[in-house]
């Protein structure tokens, strides 16, 4: 709340100072980034692939809705933002947009009518995309998508956030310069950086936000980039720290997670499910390898090693495993609930089963500072997206009906301190708040 007040204050102040400028300086559209022939025609499938990289569907296709017809609610700290219809319908979609107008949206977050988009539209990242990709996307949305005539809900945030001119000021302060500049001598790393930093817009969730709610760095040269953020109360984990999953996992495991939403350690939950479902599973092998190489390159560790096949000897059980294996009826509520509800799949050692049941020992969802994700999964369950490589939409059932708030709190507290996990407890009130919100 304090942060929010600060942001409001800052925005209002900036707004006042800039009123004159806003009134008199015309909005300038960022020009094309890079040379592309005037008669450029994207290759077959190039536009659709760029759309997959940019994951337009995750926001612009509503659950059960027509592709790209908008209407999906995006929860922001300032209220609900409704995604727009980006089909080529001339009246309710973007059918009337010229290429320049389309680019103006992607690069500057400015609509054809001059209104500023909320930065839920990741133009902070898209403005780094190449002109070729912009052209391919434009071609796809004009020619490859069925027009859908559909008015979507208008976004109506409370004052002061309904004053869209304020975003213009925010843009001046918050936006980095446009265009992607290759930084490596290695084309694989450059490709990975391009995907992650531009169309892939990973930073939109995984980078922390500055006090004015801009991404704390939009490329790998910034220290804050991909150090962990938050989306709709869920933690978007750090991707660069030495203890972060992408740095601890082997390259092949990281790749499997991105392509199929699951690997020998973990399974995708929350908003990241949409990213796997609508975007990452469609990436080419080469692009996945590039993303993996780049993420490992910008990490603090050396990158995880391929796991060796387990030797015949089982390691001695740690204290948590020993307690669970004892099946001692007098054990505390938390571990007892684990045995009764979780152990069948995740096992007493918290290691689950490769590709099917996620590890809970060392799981970033379990140990995140924000417990919303963990509580959401316990209360409501979670379902993996069906992907090309792994079509099974494996699901964990919700336990909200079976467990009281006190029990969920005890279970979550146990999980956060079990095995090698060292995260703080969860109280009953937090569970209650999450239950009503879910």
């Amino acid at each position: 709340m304090k942060t929010l007040l600060k942001i409001i204050g800052l925005l209002v102040l900036l707004g006042l100072v800039a009123v004159a400028a806003i009134a008199f300086v015309p909005i300038r559209a960022t020009p094309p980034q890079g040379q592309v022939a005037a008669d450029f025609k994207p290759a077959e499938g190039q536009g659709e692939y760029a759309m997959r990289l940019a994951d337009c569907a995750a926001c612009h296709t509503a659950e059960g809705g027509k592709p790209f017809a908008g209407g999906r609610p995006i929860e922001s700290p300032f209220g609900t933002i409704w995604s727009t219809n980006i089909t080529p319908d001339p009246e309710t979609g973007i059918g009337g947009y010229t290429l320049d107008e389309f680019r103006h949206v992607l690069y500057d977050g400015v609509r054809r009518d001059g209104a500023h988009l909320y930065p839920a539209m990741p133009y902070e990242n898209y403005r780094m995309a190449s002109e070729e990709d912009v052209r391919a996307l434009y071609d796809y949305f004009m020619n490859g998508v069925e027009p859908v005539k559909s008015e979507v809900k208008k976004t109506a945030l409370d004052f002061p956030f309904n004053q869209r001119w304020g975003i213009r000021v925010w843009d001046w302060v918050g936006l980095a310069s446009p265009g992607f500049k290759p930084r490596y001598n290695n084309p694989v790393l450059n490709r990975g950086a391009y995907i992650v930093e531009t169309l892939g817009h990973c930073g939109a969730c995984h980078s922390p936000r500055t006090p004015i709610f801009a991404q704390d760095g939009t490329d790998g040269t910034s220290d804050g980039f991909l150090r962990g953020g938050e989306i709709a109360g869920w933690s978007a984990p750090d991707l660069r720290g030495a203890k972060s999953a992408p740095q601890l996992w082997s390259a092949s495991q990281l790749k499997a997670y991105l392509a199929s939403g699951r690997n020998n350690h973990s399974a995708v939950t929350g908003e990241m499910s949409l990213v796997v479902q609508d975007s990452l599973q469609y990436l080419t092998n080469e692009d996945l390898d590039a993303v993996v190489a780049y993420l490992r390159h910008i990490g603090d560790g050396d990158g995880g090693k391929e796991e060796l096949p387990a030797s015949g000897e089982k390691p001695a059980p740690d204290a948590t495993t020993a307690l669970l294996n004892s099946a001692d009826p007098s054990m505390d509520l938390g571990p007892r609930l684990y045995l009764d509800n979780c152990g069948a799949c995740h096992f007493t050692n918290g290691k689950g089963a490769d590709g099917v049941f996620p590890e809970l020992d060392g799981n970033s969802l379990v140990t995140a500072d924000q417990v919303t994700g963990l509580l959401h999964v316990i209360l409501n369950g979670s379902r993996l997206p069906s992907t090309r490589e792994r079509p099974a939409d494996l699901a964990m059932p919700g336990f909200g009906k079976r467990l009281s708030d006190e029990e969920v709190a005890a279970l979550a507290t146990f999980l956060r301190g079990a095995w090698s996990n060292k995260a703080g407890p969860v109280d009953t009130a937090t569970v209650a708040a999450n239950r009503s919100g879910s």
Binding site: C345, A353, V356, R388, E389, L394
Partner: protein, 588 residues
Amino acid sequence: MATNAPKKDVVIVGLGWTGSILAMELCEEGLEVLALERGDDRDTVPDFKYPEVADELKYGVRYGFMQKPRNSTLTVRRTLEETALPYRMLGSFLPGDGVGGAGIHWNGHNWRPMVEELRLRSYVEESFGADIIPEDMTIQDWGVDYDELEPYFDRFEKVAGIAGQAGNINGKIVEGGNPFEAPRSGDFPMPPLPQTVDAMMFADAARKMGYHPFPRPAANASQAYTNPYGMQLGPCNFCGFCERFGCLNYSKSSPQTCVLAALKRKSNFSYKVNSEVLKVELAPDGKTATGVTYVTAEGEEVFQPADLVILAAYQLHNVHLMLLSGIGQPYDPATGEGVTGKNYAYQMNGGTSLFFKDIEFNPFVGAGSNGMVIDDFAINQIDFGKEGFIGGSYISSGTTNGQPIRSMRLPPGTPSWGTAWKQATKEWYGHSMSIGSHGSNMAYRDTYLDLDPTYKDRHGRPLMRMTFNWKPNDIRMTQFMKTKIEPIAESMSPDIMQSSYKSEGAMYDVRPYQTTHNVGGAIMGTDPKTSALNRYLQSWDVHNVFVMGATAFPQNLQYNPTGMVGGLAYWSANAIRKDYLPNPRPLV
């Protein structure tokens, strides 16, 4: 009056194991495939989710996942002289209902047949002489050999993810496996499950007597597994809710865990639930089918035109549809002529219970396919001439569950209610085990299926009539198994022992549960005069109708049928893809 639906390339009746396999295979040919399933849709979550599915009363006793007789049943009689009466309460067998069919509620025993079983009549005649075959026994060769089917058994085992120990790889006997099994081209996809104490006690006793125990081939995953479709299984946790339940843990092989999510990704596949097929419609000349007529949940009749019709419903329903649709000449037991309905067979099982005061079996730790087996008295190990019967059994022990209502095994003489029952339950729960025989059942002139002359279903169609009884040959077989099992049991020194095997004069009783291994009725073979289907499961008479499932078994194997059913489905699918589609015609 039926409305007409847009034409499909393929319509599949029933979305269980064979329906989903055929859909997958034919979608890969780019065909537009529609599956019609008369039951509800089902998925692991929410339909089998923990803890709701672990409800013995709802699913084990009240048959939550089974067909309701009021929606679909048949009439049963034991002899040609009796009047058949409707099977109004489920008992002897439990056909499944809904997407996944019986594939969701099986225990997961997955076997291949023996080489000799697939050419049973020839084997008996060559080895023991034709004159040992009783006059009324109508056993036949299948028309397809084990070697031809081997790649398709292998394929099904990889898709279903079977855990087991090979005993014969390309003719080389492997220690710890079944030395009498037909040669396999490779190992099982997964190592065998760990075993419970009863299974290990049985294996020890059998080994001491010179027998060859091996782990039961299990469609319960022993580890995390990914199949050729990319579908995944998680390791079985021995929860003890397997048969009659959907698996809560993604551990039991089923259409849901092994095929359906991959199938649903195919844009040329679609399926409709609560859509019951009433009839296969034939062209005026009767040589091809034009599609099927089905009825929706709202009672609307729809004609679904299709170039290819796959009957993939339960065995009984496939035969019923063929009889109702005029596919193949109905079998007449008086003349022995006709093929549709011929050679219905079942399964001959027996068992011995062992009670041990001082052993804790912890029966709540169980898996559907847990257990150790011996095949020392299998079909290919018995001198039929000497023993006076044709057939064989595998013998096994292993805990599948310790559910309180149905798995409360009590010593003989215990009252079934009151204080004495309570006392005995307290004393004996968890202190018993059993050794069972699971045996073949031959087919006979008067074990068959036809349309009932009296009773009709809710759509006004005649019910199917089953005529079936136990026969002296098969009773001699099960009595033989008793003489082999009891000495093993005695060698284990139980405090109390109780045997249950059918004895001379036993009549078929539909009330107690026996097994859902109903087979035959539209059998495969080499001669259109004696079989309804050719060796590719294609109707001899209507060449664009293929019939999946245990319907095709000329008599029953000594094994559980699913491995054979799965292998035949891939064998038939291959023939359709490679041979039939390029030139639709009778393949033989």
